[in-house]
Structures are given as structure tokens and as C-alpha cells.
Symmetry: D2
Amino acid sequence: MRFLTAGESHGQAVSAIIEGFPKGVKIEASLINKELKKRMVGFGRGKRMGIEHDRVEIVSGLRNKITLGSPICVLVKNKDHKIFTQKKDGLKILAVPRPGHADLAGCLKYCEQDVRNILERSSARETVTRVCVGAVCKQFLAGFNIKISSFVSGVGKISSAARPKSIEEIIKKTGKSKLNCIDSEKEKLMIEEINSARRLGDTVGGIVEVWASGVCAGLGSVMHFDKRLDAKISAYLMSIPSVKAVEIGAGFKYAGLRGSVSHDTIHFSADKGFWRKSNNCGGIEGGISNGEPIVTRIAVKPIPTLKDSLISVNISTKKKQKAPVVRSDVCVVESAGVIAENMLAICLTESLLDKFGSDSLKEIKNNFRYYFKTLS
Amino acid sequence: MRFLTAGESHGQAVSAIIEGFPKGVKIEASLINKELKKRMVGFGRGKRMGIEHDRVEIVSGLRNKITLGSPICVLVKNKDHKIFTQKKDGLKILAVPRPGHADLAGCLKYCEQDVRNILERSSARETVTRVCVGAVCKQFLAGFNIKISSFVSGVGKISSAARPKSIEEIIKKTGKSKLNCIDSEKEKLMIEEINSARRLGDTVGGIVEVWASGVCAGLGSVMHFDKRLDAKISAYLMSIPSVKAVEIGAGFKYAGLRGSVSHDTIHFSADKGFWRKSNNCGGIEGGISNGEPIVTRIAVKPIPTLKDSLISVNISTKKKQKAPVVRSDVCVVESAGVIAENMLAICLTESLLDKFGSDSLKEIKNNFRYYFKTLS
Amino acid sequence: MRFLTAGESHGQAVSAIIEGFPKGVKIEASLINKELKKRMVGFGRGKRMGIEHDRVEIVSGLRNKITLGSPICVLVKNKDHKIFTQKKDGLKILAVPRPGHADLAGCLKYCEQDVRNILERSSARETVTRVCVGAVCKQFLAGFNIKISSFVSGVGKISSAARPKSIEEIIKKTGKSKLNCIDSEKEKLMIEEINSARRLGDTVGGIVEVWASGVCAGLGSVMHFDKRLDAKISAYLMSIPSVKAVEIGAGFKYAGLRGSVSHDTIHFSADKGFWRKSNNCGGIEGGISNGEPIVTRIAVKPIPTLKDSLISVNISTKKKQKAPVVRSDVCVVESAGVIAENMLAICLTESLLDKFGSDSLKEIKNNFRYYFKTLS
Amino acid sequence: MRFLTAGESHGQAVSAIIEGFPKGVKIEASLINKELKKRMVGFGRGKRMGIEHDRVEIVSGLRNKITLGSPICVLVKNKDHKIFTQKKDGLKILAVPRPGHADLAGCLKYCEQDVRNILERSSARETVTRVCVGAVCKQFLAGFNIKISSFVSGVGKISSAARPKSIEEIIKKTGKSKLNCIDSEKEKLMIEEINSARRLGDTVGGIVEVWASGVCAGLGSVMHFDKRLDAKISAYLMSIPSVKAVEIGAGFKYAGLRGSVSHDTIHFSADKGFWRKSNNCGGIEGGISNGEPIVTRIAVKPIPTLKDSLISVNISTKKKQKAPVVRSDVCVVESAGVIAENMLAICLTESLLDKFGSDSLKEIKNNFRYYFKTLS
């Protein structure tokens, strides 16, 4: 499976094409829209979120809701694209890059003078298409009992030490949360942290944990570095705008632990097959899934667009100038979690198709069943 | 550029082929051997390190030390490969997988009963070939004034808060260190931490920081997720055996900072061009290098092979059994740093060739010079 | 550069996303529409061509007609898509595969019972998107004086031995032709061949030659088989529906020639640099372009959909049954030439970007100019 | 599966690494050596063939002759590599490129003055490694009853119209032939054609047909152009040095046939499943294998190195000069057939692994069996 995405923040639409997705999978547009909505809403999101009501159009790849094995094209129209279609003369050049964004690095890379020509694509609006692709993958994974969920474990200086026992616990507890948390006490403090930042015209980052349960042992590979499941997941999550760190399982905590207490001892029982008493490795050993839940954690930096904007330089005059003030959010940690869930869904779908073939659901399911029998 | 590696831990040799490496680059085998030696020695390494004296053979791709543009094949013989060539009957099946290794996940993936058939490839011996490839890349990068270095900032429960000002400081200070540290006070404690673990037959992990300086703005891309420099670096580092977390720049610290104080303000001066007052972003914004040093940090888990081995299960009897005791190291944090340097060198070489073409050094240098002029 | 296409023959639209296309290239939708029209019209085309008036929508990737370096999404609506949106019950299953199409092989591959679920994607309608991508590439190549053109040299049993001296001659002569020929005498016989087939309810194939001029020496590579320009061109042309053979330069004629008379002697003159007296190698030696025009030739099989349809088998009953009669063309040789031109444009664009980088037109042009100076 | 090859014609060795090859396949080095010998000997081969006795060393990837799923590294030493290790001063620069070789195009591409630095890699010696990779693949394919064979159908002006009924007929008849022919009458004339060219110090090309039988329906794909089996085969065959044309099935003959007589009607019988009365499509429809034998044909150009060498230009003086006279063969058509067989074996192995997974032979065989049952 491979996919490409397209679209500028204020262009006509954002879109994606997924190629190599198997035949025979039922895809509900409503489930894609549900993920899109989760991406949009959130306690820390700003005004634009109010004007957007993203709805996916599935342009091709389905017949009567069932995938044909042909490329799937999805499209989400941008409500707000007047700016983009204006004549060149109608818009002044944007000459001051915002620190923390792709603005300056992008202008240098592309020999560009107008920051707008960079930010239109580097905008997080692009993640709409990744969520669409992920939401298609989630519907495929559901057929193999793979569930993916996330929760916010830190916002600004507030962090929660609560550890869920299962993905079911995450789903249940976050279902009742305003901020996608599993720790209702700390959630109140996190909300206050966001409110405090908002009052000051500031922004705040955080930490999200993303889980996948039901992943069979044997995905990924130890044979070449780029086939390792941990390496792939790491790239997929780090590629999300604002993400600056990725942990698998105990992550940095491993550094402080001795070997005798940190590794997950192996057990066997007739009903469960092989299982572990702990899951410090986050479901991956030697680059291969081991049957335990995949556990990852990402750090999300504060949004770099501020009311009291940061010091920068005018690209053409080379004079010091404050970055422009643009409509923005206060905290996107929840949204980053939704995007991360969907990136993980894409990664796991690809890994599953690598192992079991990718032509038709019927064939994949058979191959999977046969393999699964050999596991215990 | 692309490369493949091959070789089992106790096979005849490990090897690699690098394809797409430019013509006209001078490659000294001695500089590859130097990196191989750095990988081998180290305060926490065990006995096997004593018997290996890895020396690279460059089988093809050079003429009179200069690359031909043709694939480069390198080979490092294994000193210790009697075990591997013994007859099947001569070796008992290894039926108990070690927790923390690829052993069980690999056996399940490949429908395998003999753990030896998995561990021969999943052994960290494979990183010898990555270091060879990286050491070739380092010699290419040197022609563009790109330097790569690393230092250990944590071992077990000891961590150092010392921050280097430049890569030159890292090189200078680690040059005098036994443990590749820049903090001589904390180094003593780290050494004691390793000795303590050794006395207990235990193992210990740690944290390494890897820097690259001299990287021009504009490598990587914001246009598709898999072209982002942060995503690529993340995959390359997470693919190293035992690495469980990757940070770029401030990493997880970002989560606790407000936007107003965390982003790197932009400045310009005639001699330096654009520059930043801080480097929290670790030299990458929007997936693109911004001209500041690339700063990454990795967590290394403790080695899972212990003198008092961990609880496991016999694959064929399904009975509880202790994992086998195998010759091993106490702490490989320094080595992980060497491997990480070389993986970063590979990643940056690929990114540079993506931007400037890859046929001949002469042409790449011209393209680079032209682009560099446009940067300021 | 990479691209994906999507869309079924009777779906809502066909579409493509091009990623990695450089920034700063002027793209006229009208030039894409012109290629689409050339694909549609043609002496041997059938009725559907009358109802389609393909017009491209450029959904993203441009601002004021200039590429942003971001992915380009193009979309062409299908006029005729009522069938596709009908309910399952509204359409009978198509159970008889047509010989010569993907129908049977596709049904077997995808465990499918309804041929319609295969033919919707395997339809040549998919080539609309390839032509769009190629027409974008042609506009890029024009900036490097690369021209691409084609002519029909055979239809059914009629073939023309006329050899053009230059691409300018092809463009001039085909401009006056009804059948995209350069041989007006033979053209009359070819038209009669098509009319004769039409009268009999039969179909007819042919031969097209595709040229590219202005291609600098040095594209492609001899270092690994999959980088060879001849290998890539061969795949791109053979991938066109109905194409069953590809020749480069003298192709099969080489088999009958001695070495002493078949190779293209090398000459040099101050104004032209290196040049050849002949071009039997079709502009490619050792997998690398040599500066002479790229010359390729393809064989196009007769359309397999016939009025008096072919013998087949009902997939579900396994009984002998005639293939269904579907609206179709008599001869698509001209169209195949248009598609082949555009596939060659894609291939050459990718090869050029591989050699000179792909960020911005300004940078690529500089890199090209520098390299070009070294050529003579 | 992916592979890289390395090695210069007069370097120490040529080598290859195959990654992604399944676990559990028995590989006999003797069968690789047999293919290497077939590549070397041949009626039209020259002197160097006499001094080489290529023997493969399998450096890694096997244990007790069984693949481990790890990368396979193979190495073939060059007997004749004194030239290459000589000091720069010991060898004069080779300044005159030979027409018909990569010499000039390569020098231009790589800004190179010494032709030797190009020809060392562009030499057909590189095909030794492709044959090794193919010979490994053939042993895998044999487990699925896939056989691959070739025969020479033309040398110079002599061509044979004999058509084999099956691959068994090819194997049987070529087994008795000096020139790998199935037409003993024409073979005599072909041998005379080679002798005649040899007497004149000239060279001669020809035509080879390559078959694969036992390929199940469903390999390749119609969903994206680069996944089509015909496109892939075309690239793999066209990438062989000296090959200038590729046909699938009837190839160019299709151009002269009407649709009513050229397509392969579909039939069904309980024992064989779906079958065809003819095989003009060469076993591929819509880019997908249809269960009939894969039939391809390639044109091989005459070797460009001649005793009475061709007119060329000295790269540094730019003066007219004859190309150097180098030891060479008269006709390599047979060898090209051996290489083509092995390239086809690689291509089919990759396609099979794409469809059925690639971890272990046991799992692939199960997946294959299940799919095979659905075919009829």
C-alpha cells in the first residue's frame, strides 16, 4: 500500500489517493467523517475550527461501499479558500517567517520570497488527508480486531502518571473526558493550564499516548533496518507537525532501569498462547510485534503562532521584524493524538498487508487465519 | 542512494552494498576501521569485543581509493564462526527465547523452532555493516564541512545536564573521556553505575545525544510525510537495536514549555546569514533543516542478556524455563552512540544527494555552491 | 517525483496526484486539455469519444498558474457515470469475461465473480490521468527544449518505411495528417484498413513511433539495472493498455545486422559537441542517454471488444458463452501514441529530476546549465 | 524482495545481496554454478570465457543450505584483476570511447576523462551477479512448479519460425543443441553465420525467446502502471546489456492481425480450470498473468567491440581516433538468453512474493494452495 496527499490550506480542496488497498473491505464515509470531527474539535482549538465542517467525498475506489482493489481517491473541500484564488496583486507578499514553522526553512529550500507559498502546504490542514487515509485503514484493521486509541497524558507543566490496563479502559475513560484524558483529576489542571495560556495569548504543548491492541506477533522485520516496525512507527509519528519526540513502550524510562527488572518475561497458557507479565517493550522486540499492545508516546510542541508574535527578520529587507499574527489555536494536543492514531493505523495496515498479501480481504483473512493457528 | 546489509553473527562475514554513492569521493579504509574500533571498545563492553578486530575489506566501487560511482561492496570477516559451520547434528536446538530480544517474535514470524536461526541475524553484530556504510558517508559529508559527533548524557540512574555549545566542544571533551562524556564529574558516577551492574551480573541502559553541524538549510521536505528530515532521522535512529525513544531538539521538554519561550527567534547578519538565538527545534522546522546543528537524543535499553537469566518458556515443550546464559556486555550506550552517528551520517548523505543530485562529487559541489549563495 | 492515479471508467471522476514536482513551473490547463483532446479524437475511435469532453480541474499544487512544489492534484469528471451509482440490484452481474482484456485474470486475482468490478478500473479510461500527468511534465520539459512527438507507422497489414530526419519533421507532417502519419501515401491505405475493419465489425492494431529530442547526455544510469533509461522507458511504454512490444532505436533490426555496420560512430564538432552519424541505438547506450534523439517504437494490439464477440466461459456456470458486446473503438493506435508520448514525458522528467535535483525550477536550471557546459 | 549488485569487471570480485527472500528454501550452490557456466560457455563466446571459471561463494543467508530469511550475500571472485590493482601510473588513461558501449555517455554523465572508470562497471561481467540472484530465485520457483527456459530463434540474418508447444519441448530440444536452438536445420545456418562473422573480425546479434511455465493466474496488477507484470518483465529484460527490444507473446505480430483472430478465446474444463486455445497474449492480459505460459522475445544487438574498430573521438584531444581493440566475443545471443531467464526468474519471484507474502516458504505455500483452490 502507498498513498499520496495533496492540497493547500486555502486551496479548493485537500485530497489523497491510496493505492494497493485490498478489495472487499466495507468503507463507511460516516466513520471517516467521525475521525475528521475528532481532529477538528478539542478544548484548545481556535476559531477556524468553527467554520470548518470537513466532510469526505470518496471520489473513487468503492462500489456500493465496498472497495474494488482499485485506488481510493478521497477529497475534502476547503470552506475558506477565497484568499487563495485572489489575484497576485490582491495579496501582499508575506515576507516575515514565523519561528517554529516551516516558513524560513521552506523559503530557503525553494528559493522563495513569499512565505505564503510555503505555509499553504506546511499548514497542519494537510493532516486532514492523513486522517482520511487512516480512517479507511482503521475500518480494515477492525476486521482483524485491531483497535487504536489515544489519550492525553500531559499538557504544559501538568502531567498524569495514570497507566491504563487495556485499550478498552482508554476508550471508556476518554469517552467521558473533555480533553481525551483518562485521569479526571489531572484533566481539570490541564484545562486550567490551557485557559491560562489562552488568557496570556500564549500556547501550550503536551504529551499523548497512542495504543494499538490486537496486533498479532510477527509484523515488521529484523532483517533490514527500514523494515523494523519500531523504525516505521517512529517515522510515521514524528512526521506529524509539532511532534518532536517518540517513545516506544517505556522509552526514556528504560535508560534508568537495570536489565534484570526491565524486560518482559515470557509465559505461555493454552488459551492465550505466549504472553508477557509486563509490556515495557511496548509490544515490539527486535523490530517485530510480539503480540502485546503497541504502546507509543509523542511530545507535541506548543503552537508557534502567538498573539504576541515572535521576533523574526523580513526576508527581503533583512531587517528585524515581528512575525505576523495569524488566527490560531492554543493547544492541539488532542488533535495530534487523533492524527497519531490514524498514522499508526496506516503503518499497521501496511505491515499487515506486507505479511499477508494485499489483493482481497477474503484471501488476506485466510492467510491470517492460517498463520494465527501456527502462533500457539 | 540505497544500501543493503547481510551477514549472521557467526557466519563467515558481514557485508554491505551501497548503490548510488557519487563518483569522485576519496575513501580511506582506515577511517572506516577507526569507526569500527569505536563501536567495539567501550567501558561496558564484554569479552567478545576482545576477540574481534574488525577490519573492512572494500571489495568493489573504488579505484585508487576514489569512488567510481559504481556500487561499493564492503565486507568484514567474522573471527568467530566455527559454530555456524558445524553440522546440524553438532548443535542442539536452542528452544528458549530470551525476553527483550527478537527471539520469540522472530520465531513466531518465521514459523521457526530453533531460536539460533533468528538470533544469528538479529544480533547487534549486524550494526558493523551500518557503521561501515556510515563511515563511507562521513567521508563524503566531510567535503561539505558536515561533522557528526555524540556523547553519553545518561547511564542508569545517573544523568548529566551539561549542554555543549558546539560540536567542537563535544569532540574536544569526549576525546578526553573514558565513557564518551562531556561531563567529567558525572562520568565518574556513570562508571560506578556500570561497575555496580557488572558486579551484580546485571546490565544498564542510558541516553546518548547525537549532533550534526554544518548541515545547510533546506534538506528534507514538508511536502509529503515520508520526506520529512525529522521523520527519516527518527526511523534511522529507532532502527538501532536497543533504542526505544528518539527526541529532536528539546523533545519531551517542549511539552512543558509555553510557545512564547520555546521557539527559536530568527535573526540575520551579513556574515552568518540567518541564524537563531536558541536551538530548541534541534535544527529542523517543518521537516526541513534550518541551518542550525541537528540535535537528537536516544534512549538505549539495558542489554537483555543477563548472567541470572530471565524467566521464559521452552518453545517446543511450552514449559517454563530460564533463558540461556550467553556471553554479553554490561552497557552498550557508547557503542549505540557510534552506531547512531553513522546512521545519521547515512540519513544526511541521502538527504544531501536528494537535493543536489548524486552523479559526481564535482557536480554536486557545484550545485551546492550555487544553492548556498542563494541562502543569504 | 512519483504519482498515483485513481478512478473507474464510470465513476464520478478520474484523478491523479503528482508529488515531488518542482516549484516555479508555469502550468497551463489549456495545454493539458489539448493533450486530452488528442487522446480522445482519432480516426478509429468510437461513439463514447463523442460524449466525452474531458477537461482537467487542477485542484491543488498551483498558485496563479505556477507550481508551488507541493503535490499537484488533477481531476477529470466522467460524464457518463449513472451506471456506477446505480444500486446493486439495478445491475445484473457481468459473468462472462472478454478474451484479450483483464477480465478473467482480474477476476481470478481478486476472487471476484462480477467482471464489472474488474473492468471499471482496467478500462483504458485510466489513461486520461496518465495523459494529465504527462501533459504537466511536457510543460516542464519544454523549459529544457525537450520535445516529444509520435507518428503512426503501421495499421493492420499496412506499414510505412518512411523515416523522419528530425522531430520537427514529425511535428510538421503529422500536423497535416488525419491519422498522425508522416507518409501521406500509406496513410490512405491505413485509413482504408480501418474502414475495412469497421465494416466487418472487426478491430485493428498497429505500430507507433515515439521520439524525444533535446535530451541531454547523461540521463539514466548503468550502475544498477533498474536505473537504466532503456529499462524505465520500456516499462512505462509496455504499461500502456494494448501495448505488447517495445523497441529502442533499431530494435529487432539489430538482430540482423553485423556489428561493423550497426553502431553509431562518434564525432565531435565545436558547435554541436559530440554527435553521431547514425542513431541506431535510439539515443541510449549502456542505459544512459547519449544526446541523440530518443527513438522508441511500440506495437498496439487490436481492441479485443468486437461486434461479433469472442468465445468465452460464464464464470459462475462454467458454461461456454459469448463475451458481451460493448460499445467500442475500431483502432486506437493514434491514441496509444498520445499516451506513449505522455508516458515518455513522465519518464524523462523523473530522469532529469534524478540528475539535477527537484526542488525549484530556478535551481534545476542552474544545475543543468553547469552540467551542460561540461558536456563539450 | 530487493537486491543490489556490485563489482567491476577487473576488480577483486562481483557480489550481490538479496533482501526479503523467504526463509526455509533449500539453495544448492551447484545449481547457481550451473547457471554461471551456461552464461559463460556458448558457441560465439571469446577468449576470456576460457580463463574464467566462475564459482559462487554464498557468504551469508543460509544455514545448512536452507535460507534463514536473512539477506543472502553471494560473491564471485574475478580471476583476472591484476589490471585493476595496478597503480594509477601503471596504466595509461583510456581516452577513446567505443561506439555502442556506455563509454561516452558514461564519461559525460560522470564528468570523467578515463573511459576505464566507466567500462569497468558497464561491462557485461556485471550480469554474473544477476545470474546468481536469478539462480537462487529459480530454486524457489521450482517449489511452485514454475520452469523457465529459453531458445535462440535468430542469429544475424538467419531466423527460425519453429514454435515450441511447451516448455518441456524447449528443454528437450535445446538440450541437444550447440546453440540453444530448437530448430536443428536453422541452427546449422546460424553457426555458419557466427563463423562467417568471426572470420571477418565482425560480430553478430540475434533473437532469443524466453518462456516461463506453471505461473498461476493473478500475478502482477492492473491497478497502477508500475505493478503490471508486462511492464516489470519489460524493464527487467530491457535492462540486460545489448537488449534493444522486448515482445510479450505475439508482440509486433499483433499489429498486423485483426481483433477477431488475435485474441485467445477462453475455455474451461474440470481438470485444467480455465484455459486458452491460443497464447498470443504471452500469458499476460491487462498486466496480470492469466495462467498460460509467459512468452517473451528479446532482440540482442551485435557486440560493439570489433577487431577492426569503429570510428570515434579522443575525449581529451577531441581528435578523430579509432576505438581501442579489446578482447571480445563474436556472438552473445545464447548468454543473453541465460541472463534473460534469470531476470525473468527474479521478476516472477518478486511477483509471487508480492501476492503470497514473503516470510517463510511454509507460509507462502499454504497461502498459495488456498488461492490456487479458488482459481477453478
